[in-house]
């Protein structure tokens, strides 16, 4: 299981990469393995604004459908159109080609409340049974 050190994570299994005022987000390796084969991502519209923790959309696999939440408050600037035709990329490369949305960060102070890679990994290990 992969937990890139340069990312931050939420307890609802989203990751975020922040560069200045811009962020990229998706779901973690743990999330994609729990969901199994992903068949669809329901994206927000460009310009949609959501507070931290609110669902911007959802991800669907063959056996489950799950909301995906904003890791930080912000406004959506782009969605990964490639996932419309090849959603399975999320399973294979959740942190790279499987990115889901890009957004501008409205409350950068929220970043300090997120988990770093080590904390998130520990959290995942504790949940596993």
């Amino acid at each position: 299981m992969n937990f890139p050190a340069d990312l931050k994570y939420t307890k609802s299994d989203e990751w975020v990469r922040v560069e200045g005022n811009n962020a990229t987000a998706g779901i973690s390796d743990y999330a994609q393995s729990q969901l199994s084969d992903i068949v669809y991502v329901e994206f927000p519209g460009i310009g949609a604004a959501h507070p931290q923790g609110e669902a911007w959309g959802s991800v669907e696999s063959v056996k489950a459908a799950s909301d995906v939440n904003m890791p930080l408050s912000g406004t959506v600037t782009a969605v990964n159109d490639d996932l419309k035709n090849t959603p399975e990329v999320v399973n294979g490369d959740p942190y790279g080609q499987g990115w889901m949305i890009k957004f501008t960060v409205s409350h950068p102070q929220e970043l300090s409340g997120l988990l770093d890679a080590a904390a998130y990994q520990k959290y995942c290990e504790e949940r596993a049974h």
Binding site: V39, E42, S61, V62, K63, A64, A65, D67
Partner: protein, 446 residues
């Protein structure tokens, strides 16, 4: 699969295993005075006596098979070819349960797939579900779908007042507590006026055509105007009318729903009926209900399965957008048999007969002193008649003195339409019946 009931020996063994002397002892926790209460019921009857009693009760009813019927208003007397019953009463269809296990349900799944395909062809839409309880449910589910499509951010639902009153009531029941505003049907207004109500808070506009009054609505340009505000358009339609009229899909509708009872199902005192629901592929993941899809097995052979199951409540659970987890399997099969039997040309013939007979009847009734027929808009198989006396009075005399079942009293649902009767004429009404109705109306109101 065989079914073996428990034998006395099986029961004795089970009771011994759990340490209970007899079956009655299992009810020991129920207070003695209510355990086997004395019920004030008549004694048992033999099959012969039961049949006689039920037939006596049934014979009190005046029904479509023995009386000329001119009543429509959402449930229609159309001809059902005998092959429909012949096929749906086969045990394989009649008793088949939900096809969750595709490996033993290919028959059911294939028929439902064909049903869905036919609904798409009829309505001009891209995808249809495996059916709902009835037309009212389908329309309510269209509202639910629109509500969730906009993630609950658009709260205005616009309903035409010319939609079936019961369908509108069901929508209000469904959307209780959702915090939506259902508007448009509180006053008499036409489609053009309703379209003016569409704004950026509107989730959906629903119109019915032919509407409750039998009139064909002009849908040209409506979809474009609705879409200009980003809202959805739903059209409620009579499937028989689609044998003649341009389907809503070609007018740009996003959702098409309606009652499928006309497709070979009997009137049956109100049910079981058949709600059909069709939409565009882009909305399929928000569509409620069962959906049969075409797939391939590991040997590359075509098969059918229930698909996109992640929409459904048993997977989405509290995040599901609808409570529907069933369909009207047997009724959908009946409709499929009906449509297959009639085919395109047969359906057109039925539609043309309804059109011509209703127009003939309207002209004749318009000639009876005291009666006026609304001819302001084109109509399909129903039309509105203004009567010189209360409708219930006319209907009472039509039934008692002439043995005719008259039309629907519109005053019950539309206060400004007291003394207005909705008359329905289908391919089942022959010329003699129509002329008898005309004569009767004249005699009754002399």
């Amino acid at each position: 699969m065989s079914y073996y009931p428990n034998t006395d020996h099986d029961r004795a063994e089970m009771l011994k295993t759990i340490g209970v002397p007899n079956v009655e002892a299992l009810f020991a926790d129920v207070p003695a005075q209510v355990r086997f209460p004395k019920l004030n019921l008549p004694g048992p009857l033999s099959e012969l006596e039961t049949l006689r009693e039920l037939m006596e009760l049934a014979n009190v009813n005046a029904h479509a098979q023995e009386r000329p019927l001119f009543l429509g208003a959402g449930a229609y007397n159309h001809f059902s070819p005998s092959i429909v019953n012949h096929l749906i009463l086969r045990g394989e269809f009649l008793t088949a349960y939900t096809p969750y296990q595709p490996e033993i349900s290919q028959g059911t799944l294939q028929v439902i797939y064909e049903y869905q395909s036919m609904i798409c062809a009829l309505t001009g839409m891209e995808v249809a579900n495996a059916s709902h309880y009835d037309g009212a449910t389908s329309m309510a589910e269209a509202v639910v779908m629109a509500y969730h499509h906009f993630r609950e951010k658009r709260r205005k639902i616009i309903l035409s007042p010319a939609i079936h009153p019961q369908y509108r009531a069901v929508v209000r029941t469904y959307m209780q507590g959702a915090g939506v505003n259902i508007v448009g049907d509180d006053q008499s207004q036409d489609v053009a006026a309703l379209v003016k109500l569409v704004d950026s808070d509107t989730a959906i506009l629903i119109v019915q055509s032919p509407n409750f009054f039998g009139q064909v609505e002009n849908l040209a340009g409506v979809a474009e105007q609705v879409h200009a505000h980003g809202a959805l358009l739903c059209v409620v339609v009579d499937p028989i009318s689609l044998g003649l009229l341009k389907p809503p899909g070609q007018f740009g509708a996003d959702i098409v729903v309606g009652e499928g009872q006309s497709l070979g199902l009997p009137l049956s005192y109100g049910g079981p009926y058949l709600g059909f629901f069709a939409t565009r592929k882009e909305y399929v993941r928000k569509m409620a209900g069962r959906l049969v899809g075409e797939a391939y097995d590991k040997n590359g052979q075509r098969g059918f399965v229930l698909t996109l199951a992640t929409r459904e409540q048993h997977i989405k659970r509290e995040k599901a957008t609808s409570n529907i987890c069933t369909n009207q399997g047997l009724m959908a099969i009946a409709a499929t048999v009906y449509l297959s039997t009639l085919g395109k040309s047969g359906l057109r013939q039925v539609a043309e007969l309804c059109w011509h007979k209703s127009h003939f009847a309207a002209q004749q009734i318009a000639g009876v002193p005291g009666f006026t027929v609304d001819m302001t808009k084109p109509f399909f198989q129903e039309f509105v008649v203004k009567c010189p006396r209360p409708v219930n009075e006319i209907n009472r005399r039509l039934l008692d003195e002439w043995g005719i079942i008259g039309g629907y009293d519109l005053g019950a649902d539309y206060p400004h339409l007291k003394r207005h009767m909705l008359v329905c004429v289908t391919e089942m009404n022959n010329r003699d019946e129509i002329e008898m109705l005309v004569e009767a109306l004249g005699e009754i109101t002399k």
